[in-house]
């Protein structure tokens, strides 16, 4: 595996408040990893994601993704980087209401090239199980469908890195599970994924690496064992035992 993301001694200070600040974080992510970043609200976990995505610049330290140092990029180069290399999935979908599902999916492709990506867009929607809603407007879609449209939009330019910030936060359990299963399938086919969540159940279910963030610092970086264990090695149900 080769290194995809490298944060070196990143600090991000926000004027007038400490919420979301990041303080001396170093971190690398390998290609193909499914990593969860976990922490309470205000811990700085979303800030980290925004720095990796080139949506925000650090106060000090450097961010490099796929070998490019984001700090050296002009605003225009950074915009191209975001368009071509990073896919985003947010908690509240962020679809444009006056465009159909398919048109939403195609936005990043249209910004990149004049060649029509309609066929790829339809194929992606099909892969995500929502081919039939391609021509509908977001208001006519369920939350789970909207999030799948957002995932298709994030994938249309074949990004090196898929960033998901609480992608199930606005969904009911069932739709949330479906969305996460989709991300897991993408991961199995090689997609590098960085998931931000406050939910430890969710993080450990999908990610083999769980990074805990607290007060702008990484307090733990756990690579979990993935081998299946026998039930008795995981849970023991035991009442009061009969005396011999």
């Amino acid at each position: 595996m080769s290194e995809l993301v490298r944060l070196s001694d990143i600090t991000k200070v926000y004027q007038g408040g400490v919420t979301g600040a990041v303080n001396g974080v170093s971190l690398t992510v390998e290609e193909g990893e499914f990593t969860a970043v976990m922490g309470p609200s205000g811990s700085g976990k979303s800030t980290l994601l925004n720095l990796i995505a080139g949506l925000d610049r650090p106060t000090s330290g450097s961010v490099s993704v796929a070998g490019s140092d984001l700090g050296r990029m002009s605003e225009a180069a950074l915009a191209r980087f975001r368009r071509d290399r990073v896919g985003f999935v947010f908690q509240f979908f962020h679809l444009l209401p006056n465009l159909t599902a398919l048109e939403n999916v195609l936005i990043p492709a249209q910004l990149k090239s004049t060649t029509s990506a309609e066929a790829s867009g339809r194929e992606l929607l099909d892969q995500l199980g929502i081919a039939e809603v391609a021509d509908r407007y977001p208001a006519k879609l369920s939350g789970g469908q909207q999030q799948r449209v957002a995932i298709a939009r994030a994938l249309i330019n074949k990004p090196s890195l898929l960033l998901a910030d609480e992608p199930t936060g606005a969904l009911d359990t069932r739709s949330g599970d479906q969305v996460m299963e989709l991300l897991m399938e993408l991961h199995r086919s090689g997609q590098t994924i960085l998931l931000v969540t406050h939910d430890a159940k969710l993080a450990t279910r999908y990610a083999a690496r769980v990074i805990s963030v607290l007060d702008g610092k990484i307090v733990d970086d756990a690579r979990l064992e993935t081998a299946e264990r026998a039930a008795a090695d995981v849970i023991r149900v035991r009442g009061e035992e009969a005396r011999p």
Partner: protein, 174 residues
């Protein structure tokens, strides 16, 4: 207690030999509780002594005895099922004692203890997640429910560790 009533409950379905009732009990628990056959026989004998089960017919093949539930057995079982669990909460894991002791011995610096414990809980969560997925795949929704309970408990354990880490608790007991 739960072994006693577990066996009793399985005998409601049909009369069973000691071995059968052991196997069914373990299958019901999905491998999360292995019972000693001797313990099963002792329990059945005690149930018989108390009139809650009785032998059904004579000893059969190789001296195996079939047990069936009695009317007072059914009554006792129903009372047990209707009774909520209201005893004190049992905190059986070593971490509770470790925490108290480390607070005294390590001058209140619990950081390393807490982060190692959190990692162990994360691993447990992952294992439980896999177990839940397997139970669902096998159509064992009953087991999946049990595992879900364990998952939520472990999530609470993690929240507790996080809270202790955030507040940076000290060793003082006052």
């Amino acid at each position: 207690m739960s072994l006693k009533y577990g066996l009793l409950g399985l005998l409601v379905e049909e009369p069973l030999h000691g071995y059968e009732v052991k196997n069914r009990f373990e299958a019901m628990l999905g491998g999360t509780w292995e019972v000693n056959i001797g313990q099963v026989y002792t329990t059945l004998q005690r149930l018989e002594r108390d009139g809650l089960v009785r032998p059904a017919g004579e000893r059969g093949d190789r001296g195996k005895l079939l047990y069936e539930i009695s009317d007072s057995g059914r009554k006792a079982l129903n009372e047990w099922l209707a009774q909520p669990e209201s005893g004190p909460q049992e905190l059986r894991e070593d971490i509770y004692v470790k925490l108290l002791l480390a607070a005294r011995l390590a001058n209140g610096d619990l950081g390393p203890l807490l982060s190692r414990q959190k990692r162990a809980y994360l691993q447990r969560l992952r294992d439980l997640n896999q177990l839940e997925a397997r139970a669902k795949k096998d159509g064992r929704t009953d087991l999946a429910r049990l595992v879900r309970g364990a998952l939520l408990h472990t999530e609470a354990d993690i929240k507790w560790i996080d809270e202790l880490s955030e507040t940076g608790i000290s060793g003082e007991s006052e």
